[in-house]
Each structure stands twice: as structure tokens, then as C-alpha cells.
Amino acid sequence: MTFQATTFQGWLLIAAFVGILLALTKPMGLWLHALYEGRRTPLHTVLGPVERGFYKLSGIDPHEDQSWHRYAVHMLSFNFGLALLTYGLLRVQQWLPLNGLHYGAIGPDGAFNTAISFDTNTNWQWYSGEAAMSNLSQMLALTIHNFLSAATGIALAFALFRGFARAQAKGIGNFWADMTRVTLYLLLPLCVIYTLYLIACGVPQTLATSVDVFTLEGARQVLVLGPVASQEAIKMLGTNGGGFFNANSAHPFENPTAVTNFVQMLSIFWIGFGLTWCFGKAVGNVRQGWAILAAMLALFLIGAGVVYWQEALGNPVLHHLGVAGGNMEGKEVRFGIVASALFAAITTAASCGAVNAMHDSFTALGGLIPLFNIQLGEVVVGGVGAGIYGFLLFAILAVFVAGLMVGRTPEYVGKKIESREVKLAVLAIAVLPLIILSMTALASVLPAGLAGPLNKGPHGFSEILYAFTSAVGNNGSAFAGLTAGTPFYNGMLGVAMWLGRYFVIIPMLAIAGSLAAKKHTPESAGSFPTTGLLWTGLLVGIVLIVGGLTFLPSLALGPVADHLMMIHGQLF
């Protein structure tokens, strides 16, 4: 390594990050498990009346045990209504209060895209927040989705856990109770504390819209302000990722210091880590949860290591011009190489999509990993709820493959996995590559699609591929050079986000219903053990082969070709 490469301090940051999260996994898991079981928490004293009041006004019986299709229909109906609300608010924001900078209505294609984007926990943003959204839109049209799409994801994970945990049951829980409890007793209290912390560190929280600055050099600079901290907190905890500002968590008002950055990284993963523990507890063996987390961590650390290594190595094109060191294009000085690389690996593993550096300007292979993380299906920790239910689909495939190898009926955590479950799991998993690759192919030949990329050559293709990958994977990060605010991309990506969310959820809930109805099969000497190293290795293998392999040709056309051009100094 001729140039500045990775440092001990850098690896220490990654190790400390993982270590702290592992220490926080069980506390979060315990809390989630209490909500999963509907137990009373200390917070019920204050918020219990709110919960009961909400049920009463809406005519909800929280004890009603819903069948999987009733659970699904109620979840869809609620989320569809929320998306309509957002669409409506964005279309008329010019007539509503808290619009000090007089932003006009968001156009129909843009509002369609944004409503779906926030509803599906994607938070893909074709617009620039500080130049398009009024403070009311940020709060009422967008922040509520950050809570409720996250709560929906966790509720859905609970439903699947019940499928494994229950025996000969008709129902998989109550959507309203799951969603409301997660919002009131987990997300909201954490966000209140988190918001105050962020404000104390320099994140604005005001209803003012902007302030005029007369700089030391005598120029005028307009700084956009707003209720940033309250949105920032749930943006990270709920793995939403939709920034108040265009530059997202790179913007100093969203993420002012290296310490807030560290806390933001922890908060992306925290609930996802806790859910693996909660799953183990729910199925009666916490080692089942740790085994899943081990497989996720293995995949994550490989990715994070590669991004850090590549970004620290830097860009040979710039080295050739006499600029030594790591790749600082599109990165903030206060974060430097390692915290930018780590953030990129986390946000794409977790379906968050917040960014503290511009992935588009990463080195070719440093940018390949974020893309590949999403293509694996957002199951490497994944979005809150969505990560674990996605990963359990892979676990079903893994026991199926293991069963084929040894010639036994596959079982997983006390449930026989039969043809129905395997078919549904394959259906849910196949949706991803099918939509990503077909839509990318379409956009790569149509003039409206080719008008998008900023960069030329293979990197331009990567920008298109990343957009559809991010949309279908419900991530929301971007190779942001792509001009996505056009009717073509708003429409295509809107549909992509919707399919990527619900065409995984519906088969997953069907599996939950089917599993819940089954008898419990006690573990026997012939059962394939689903804890331990062999199982973890098998899970990693299945995720890489089933999830990743389909994308290799597209990666060869994009980032790999880009890398070969970059190291040979072939510019575009």
C-alpha cells in the first residue's frame, strides 16, 4: 500500500461500534419482547391512557386475534390512507401554514413518489428538502411516516415471530395493538430524549424557516432552519433515512459532530439488533436470535471492512495528480475516511438510506459494497422489522437446502417447513432481483432513463442501477448524481418502492399464518441444529448465493468496469 491506508484508530472505531451495540442488544430485546407480548411497561403509567384512548376512538379491540389476511388488509389500509394524506398535503402546501419560504405545491409525480417513498420506509428523495418542503410538510407529511412505517415494520416482524412461536393458532396478533404499542412505548419516548440530545449538540429545532448571515468576507449567506432535530431522531431510529436537507446526515445542521455521527450510526442498528434477541426469546431459545445476529454481523463486517479499505486507499486518478491519501471527494472533514465508510456500510445494510458522505463519489469498489448490501435484500440487520422478517425468509430457504442435503423434512425453531412456506419465501425473495434488474434494463435503454445520470461511462449505469436497487430494497440512499425528479423516474421508482415493500410483506404474512396453524414439532436427534457455527455459515452462504449471485452481471457492468477504468486512468 503506497498511500495512506487504514489506521488502528479506524479499526478501533469499527470495533467499538460493534461492541457497544452488542452490549445494547439484550436491553433493547427485552423491551421489544415486552411489547411483543403486550406486557405492561413502566411507561404505561403515563402513556397507557393515550393508548386506550386511541383504541376507543377508533373502535379497535386490541385483544382481537387477527388472521394473517385480516392483519395484512388492516396494515395495507392504514398505510394506504397515510400515503394519501401525505400526497394531499404536499399538493396543497402553498396554502398551508409554516411555509415561510413560500414553496409552491409539489407536482403530482413528485408527490406520488414521496408519498410512497415515506410510506414504505424507503425515504428516497428526488427533491432537495431545503428548496421544496415547508416546515409543515416536513412535520406532518413526512415525520409521521418515519414513525409509522417503522412501527409497521416492527409490527410485521412480531406477526412472523408469532407464526413460529404459536401452535395450532388461527391468528398472528393484532396489527393495531402492535403498531400503536411500538410507536408509543418505544419510538416516541426514545425520540424525545434523542431529539433533546441532538439539539444540545447543535441541530436546530425551530419554526423559523431561515436566517440571513453576513459572512466575515462580507457576502450574504442564507441558512435554512426548521424543526430538524425532531425529524432527525426518528429518521435514524426508524431506519428511514429521509433528511431534512438535501445533504442528509452530511449537513452540519443534521449531524454537527463526530460524536453525533457515532450516535447516529448506533441508532440505525439498535432496534434491528434488539429484534434478533426478541425473536430468540419469542421462540423460546435466545441462542436462535444470536445465531441470526452472528450471520448478519459476519456479512456486515466484511462489507464495512472493504469500504474502509478502499476509501482509505483512495483514488489513483487523484494520486496521479499529486493528491495523496484517502478519497476525500464527497466526504466531511469532521468524519474523515473511516466514519464515512462505516456509515455507508451501516446505512445500506440497514435499509436506512441516510448518508453522511456522497456514495456517488466513493471509489468504484467502495461504492460497490453499499450497492451490494442493498441487493442482498436489506437483511444484513436490515430496516427495523423488515430486516429480521427478510432474514427469516432466508432462514427458511437455508433449512430447506440443509434438508435436501441430508434428506429430512426441514424444521426451523420447532416448525416443519413445507412446500407452501418454501414457495412463498422464494416468491418474496425473487421479487427483488426481478424488479431491480428489469427496471434498470428499461431505464438503460429509454431516452427518459438515459437523461438521468450525471456521470458518463460505467458509473452512469451504476447511478441507474443504484436508484432501482435502493427503491426496491426500500433503502433510499442514492448515487445522487442521478437527476431523479422527472416524471419518468418519479413514476418508475414510486412503483418500484411499492412493489419492493408489499410484495415481500404479503407472502411473508402468509407464511406467518401458515406456520401459526401448524403443530409444534419438538427438537429431536435428527433435527438440523439452527444455532452454532455450521448454521451461521450456511445462512451467510445462502444469503450470498441466493440474494447476491443474480446481481453479479450488473455489478460487473457498473462498479467493476468503473474500477478497471479508474485504476488505468481511463476517464469519462
Binding site: Q9, L13, A16, F54, L57, S58, G59, I60, V73, H74, S77, F78, G81, L85, S128, E130, L140, I144, L148, L196, A208, S210, V211, V213, E217, V222, P227, S230, N246, A247, A250, P252, F253, A258, V259, N261, G314, N315, V317, L318, L321, V323, G325, G326, E329, G330, E332, V333, G336, S340, N356, D360, S361, F362, N455, G457, G481, M566, L571, F572
Partner: protein
């Protein structure tokens, strides 16, 4: 299925309204109220007021292009440090536009100060276009130029930079960096005290 849908209408409608009021109005407004009371400076953008005028934010970078100041990094936010248009360049690693931009800047820097190694952050755009910081190397790189133009001692300026360096928390969270706005405020104060 139809029955499931019909039974979802009232809860969906009412819950949307209730949660919108709680999470979309109540929560941000309450946080604004508490934040304004507890942390009024930070909640309003960490602004610095001088003689009744807002001269900057300690959090946000501003453009310094004059040779008499420590200069900030190149910026892709609007025409540079535009607070209404945060953005990176989004140029890819093998982009000719990136290479040309860096090459031109390196050439200018080499001409002004031959033989000095180029700090990477001074020739690359940040992710936000509003990066408030530069590396200590980038600050030291500019000392001789500023000392000459302002008639200050280079050693005094180097000491000013050294005392402005912020180090990583606990030794590993963050990078050594210098806030350019605050450094330049100290530079102005120092120059005002030193007879030219």
C-alpha cells in the same frame, strides 16, 4: 376479504388523524418548545452575532476565498457554501470533470507555493458543500500566505492554528480538524491587536 377491508376503514381513518396530531404536530411542537427553552442558541442554528449582525454559525461552513483568510474547501453547494442548496459534487472516481477540476486547482497551488504537499481536503468538495472544517495540515499549508499578506509572524499563526485544532473524542471518535469560521475570527482578532 371484503369484510376485512370494511372493518379496517374506521380504525385507519381515525388512527391516521390521531397519530398525525400526536406525531406530526404535538411531538415536533413540544420538542421545539423544550429545545428553545433549554438550548436556545443551538436550537436556532448556533449563530454568532457581531455588532447586531449575524456573521455566521459555528456549525455551518461559509465561503472564504480571500487570500487574507484561511480558506475553506471547494464547495458544490450552489455557487459555493449556499445554505439553500446543500450538495456534494457527485462526480464519480473516474470522472473527467473531477480530474480536470482537481488538476487546475493543484496547478494553481503549486504555482503559489512550489514544493509543498497538497492537503487532499483542500482540493476536494465535501458531501454537504457546507463543511465548516479543514484538516490541520490544510490550515498550516495556508499560514505562510496569510502571514505575508497580513504582516503577521508565521510562528504566531502556527500557534493560533495549533490551539484551534479539535481532536477526536476519546482518541478515536472523529478526526483532527479546525473550524475555519472560528479560526478566522481569531485571526481577525489577532490582526486587530498586532500593529501592522
Amino acid at each position: 376479504m371484503i369484510h376485512d377491508f370494511a372493518s379496517s376503514l374506521r380504525p385507519s381513518l381515525v388512527m391516521t388523524g390521531l397519530f398525525a396530531a400526536l406525531l406530526g404536530i404535538g411531538y415536533p411542537l413540544a420538542m421545539t418548545g423544550v429545545g428553545q427553552v433549554l438550548f436556545p442558541s443551538q436550537a436556532n442554528g448556533s449563530l454568532v452575532v457581531d455588532h447586531g449582525k449575524v456573521v455566521g454559525s459555528t456549525v455551518i461552513g461559509q465561503a472564504f476565498t480571500s487570500d487574507r483568510y484561511f480558506q475553506t474547501r471547494p464547495s458544490a453547494a450552489g455557487k459555493g457554501y449556499d445554505g439553500t442548496a446543500s450538495s456534494g459534487s457527485n462526480l464519480g472516481p473516474a470522472s473527467k470533470a473531477l480530474s480536470d477540476r482537481v488538476q487546475a486547482q493543484v496547478a494553481a497551488m503549486r504555482k503559489a507555493q512550489p514544493g509543498k504537499p497538497i492537503p487532499a481536503d483542500l482540493v476536494t468538495t465535501s458531501a454537504s458543500g457546507l463543511d465548516p472544517d479543514i484538516t490541520p495540515q490544510a490550515a498550516y499549508y495556508q499560514v505562510d500566505r496569510i502571514a505575508k499578506l497580513r504582516g503577521l509572524k508565521p510562528e504566531a499563526l502556527r500557534a493560533l492554528v495549533a490551539s484551534s485544532v479539535e481532536t477526536p473524542t476519546l482518541g478515536f471518535i472523529g478526526e483532527n480538524h479546525v473550524n475555519v469560521f472560528e479560526l478566522n475570527r481569531r485571526l481577525d482578532a489577532m490582526a486587530a491587536k498586532t500593529p501592522a
